[in-house]
């Protein structure tokens, strides 16, 4: 297939991938960044994503899956538009991560690994995110939120709901 005409990625991402495979001494070094960037755009590693990445790198789909399953950020089913990742590792645990996670669960009505019915939020308890001195910390997609208390939770959710509404308003299909 011709990748230029058949790509499932946006023209911008497709162009980025064209450059990425040229960048390294070995093409395959592009694999992990490519999977993560593809996931950022598509939402998860769908069969179509895996097929195209395999094609671009020149390895089998099985090989791509074998690598992808190793990395905890890579996922094979969709999550919410805003994926809330509460660090519950030691430094965050000592400063109230469990209470924070509980509050998110109550406010969203979902358990960890759940997705809200409207698809706006999903929740995860994650391992150390490297914000130990600003604990407890949470990542919403790639945003870091530091030094939180359960009282911050409703405001955080409202802010991201606002962003979601805004994104919907500007989407081409809206």
């Amino acid at each position: 297939m011709s990748l230029e005409t058949m790509s499932i990625f946006s023209p911008r991402l497709a162009a980025r991938f064209d450059a990425l495979v040229q960048k390294y001494p070995v093409k395959r070094s592009a694999l992990i960044p490519m999977l993560l960037y593809a996931q950022d755009e598509i939402g998860y590693l769908s069969d179509a994503v895996i097929a195209e990445v395999a094609e671009r790198i020149g390895i089998t789909e099985l090989d791509v899956r074998s690598v992808a399953t190793y990395y905890s950020m890579l996922r094979f089913k969709p999550v919410g538009q805003y994926n809330i990742q509460v660090c519950t590792n030691i430094s965050c645990m000592l400063r109230g991560a469990d209470d924070l996670s509980e509050r998110f669960q109550e406010e969203l009505g979902i358990r960890p690994k759940g997705v809200t019915a409207d698809g706006v939020f999903s929740l995860e308890e994650v391992e150390c995110i490297g914000a130990c001195c600003w604990a407890p910390a949470v990542q919403v997609n790639y945003d870091f939120l530091d030094e939180l208390t359960p009282e911050h939770v409703p405001g955080i959710l409202e802010a991201y709901r606002g962003k979601a509404r805004q994104a919907e308003g500007t989407a081409p299909h809206a």
Binding site: K23, Y24, P25, V26, R28, S29, A30, L31, I32, P33, L35, L36, I57, S66, V67, Y70, Y71, S72, M73, L74, T88, N89, I90, S91, M93, L94, R95, D98, E127, C128, I129, G130, A131, C132, C133, W134, A135, Q139, Y142, D143, F144, D146, E147
Partner: protein, 435 residues
């Protein structure tokens, strides 16, 4: 934005540009940036390695291997290209120092990478950041692009005949990739499973070429070693432990944060003076001195200097410099369980002792903490952990076993208090059904 802290006892070398806007290249230059790289370009590899050896700079990732010595292991002549690989996969629980370096001083990492490249004769360096650090990767990418635009990177760096290129790389979530050989595997587009050593990376590394791999803090320290002179840098620390360290103090302290203190700074003073003591005036129960993999210290064991040798003598490790402080309300069984849950999650599964050991330890501790433990479980936990030590290809097995052994040995009484279906004495979140 992570909060910056300050204390009069700090000696700001690596963190001197934090909060100064040095992520912008002009500001970095104003603050003396790239002078060390230019000097190294003039002086040549042997001079650089001698300065590095004189500095007593030891690896800041955790192992504490002397950086100058590591660099000197790279063969001068090689048929395959040589590489520099910067390890920014910062994932050891309790550790967030590299986070601040990437945020505030990305050019120091670039400059250190250039110097490392000059020292070993590499033309290409990689800066690998954990996948969660996307905003920091973007800061690094901008800094690299700016350095290219100024001619500090490229075919003719600083107008010389020397070539040096840098590629930034994202991970995608894996603690194990912080291990150097697993890091190379990941950069080659594979699962982050460690390689058998020898051969060591200095001889056969990335893409089969000689490679030096250093932690991001180590690399960011290099330009300062050159600027100060190796001997002057060594003077700041203790014997065989040159310079300062970015200590991340977290947990139950009044003022958590990343503080730059001389190597050998007293741990007790670090907790009670620098970090303001135990939160809420509570009593200290335990200290994890160097990230979650380092054996716990009791309050009576913390009157020690924080360098690799003194913490080693006290039966633990300086590790990544992540000091985690626990007050008297902490359940040590729950803490041990949380620690092993992490290693069980992160074990790559290649070696049996680590894969099975972490899983059984997690199962035992889960049951134990829920109040369903038996007296023999305590010895079994110890037996399991002892049988992992030294029996795995990479240090993850030890990293999981060592802290658990220390928890059981030093807090055996607390384990015993959990016995016979008693609810956890500290329980807040554990639902215990007494059968």
């Amino acid at each position: 934005m992570p909060r910056l802290v300050s204390h009069p006892d700090e000696v700001k070398i690596v963190s001197q540009r934090f909060g100064q806007g040095a992520a912008k290249i002009d500001r970095y230059l104003e603050l003396g940036g790239y002078a060390s790289a230019k000097k190294c370009l003039e002086q040549g590899p042997d001079w650089i390695i001698n300065e590095m050896k004189a500095s007593n700079l030891r690896g800041r990732g955790g192992a504490g291997f002397p950086a100058g010595m590591k660099w000197s292991f790279v063969p001068k002549k090689s048929d395959k290209p040589k590489y520099v690989l910067v390890n920014g996969d910062e994932s050891e629980p309790g550790t967030c120092k590299d986070h601040l370096i990437f945020l505030h001083d990305p050019h120091a990492i670039i400059e250190g990478t250039i110097i490392a490249g000059l020292a070993i004769g590499a033309k290409l360096g990689f800066i690998y950041l954990r996948g969660e650090y996307r905003y920091l990767l973007e800061i690094m990418e901008k800094a690299v692009a700016d350095a290219y635009a100024r001619g500090f990177l490229g075919k003719n760096i600083f107008g010389s005949d020397t070539e040096f290129q840098i590629i930034t790389q994202t991970g995608a979530g894996a603690y194990e990739v912080g291990e150097e050989s697993a890091l190379m595997e990941s950069l080659e587009g594979k699962r982050g499973v460690p390689r058998i050593k020898p051969p060591f990376p200095a001889v056969v590394g990335l893409y089969g070429g000689p490679t030096i791999i250093n932690n991001a803090e180590t690399i960011a320290t290099v330009p300062h070693v050159i600027a100060m002179g190796g001997a002057a840098f060594a003077e700041v620390g203790t014997p065989r432990n040159g310079g300062t360290r970015l200590f991340g103090i977290s947990g139950h302290v009044e003022r958590p944060g990343v503080y730059e203190l001389p190597m050998g700074y007293n741990l007790k003073k670090m907790i009670y003076e620098v970090a303001g003591g135990v939160r809420g005036g509570r009593k200290l129960k335990a200290v994890v001195p160097g990230g979650s993999s380092t054996p716990v210290l009791l309050p009576e064991e913390i009157d020690i200097g924080m360098d690799f040798d003194q913490v080693g003598k006290a039966g633990s490790m300086l590790g990544s410099g992540g000091v985690v402080v626990l007050d008297d309300q902490t359940c040590m069984v729950e803490f041990a369980l949380r620690t092993i849950s992490f290693y069980q999650h992160e074990s790559c599964g290649w070696c049996t002792p680590c894969r099975e050991g972490t899983d059984w330890l997690k199962k035992s501790l889960t049951r134990f903490h829920a109040g369903f433990g038996a007296a023999k479980d305590i010895d079994n936990i110890q037996y399991l952990a002892e049988n992992m030590l030294g029996r795995t290809f990479c240090p993850l097995g030890d990293a999981a076993a060592m802290p658990i052994l220390a928890f059981v040995k030093k807090f055996r009484k607390e384990f015993e208090e959990h016995l016979n279906g008693k609810p956890c004495p500290f329980a807040k979140h554990v639902e215990v059904t007494v059968v």
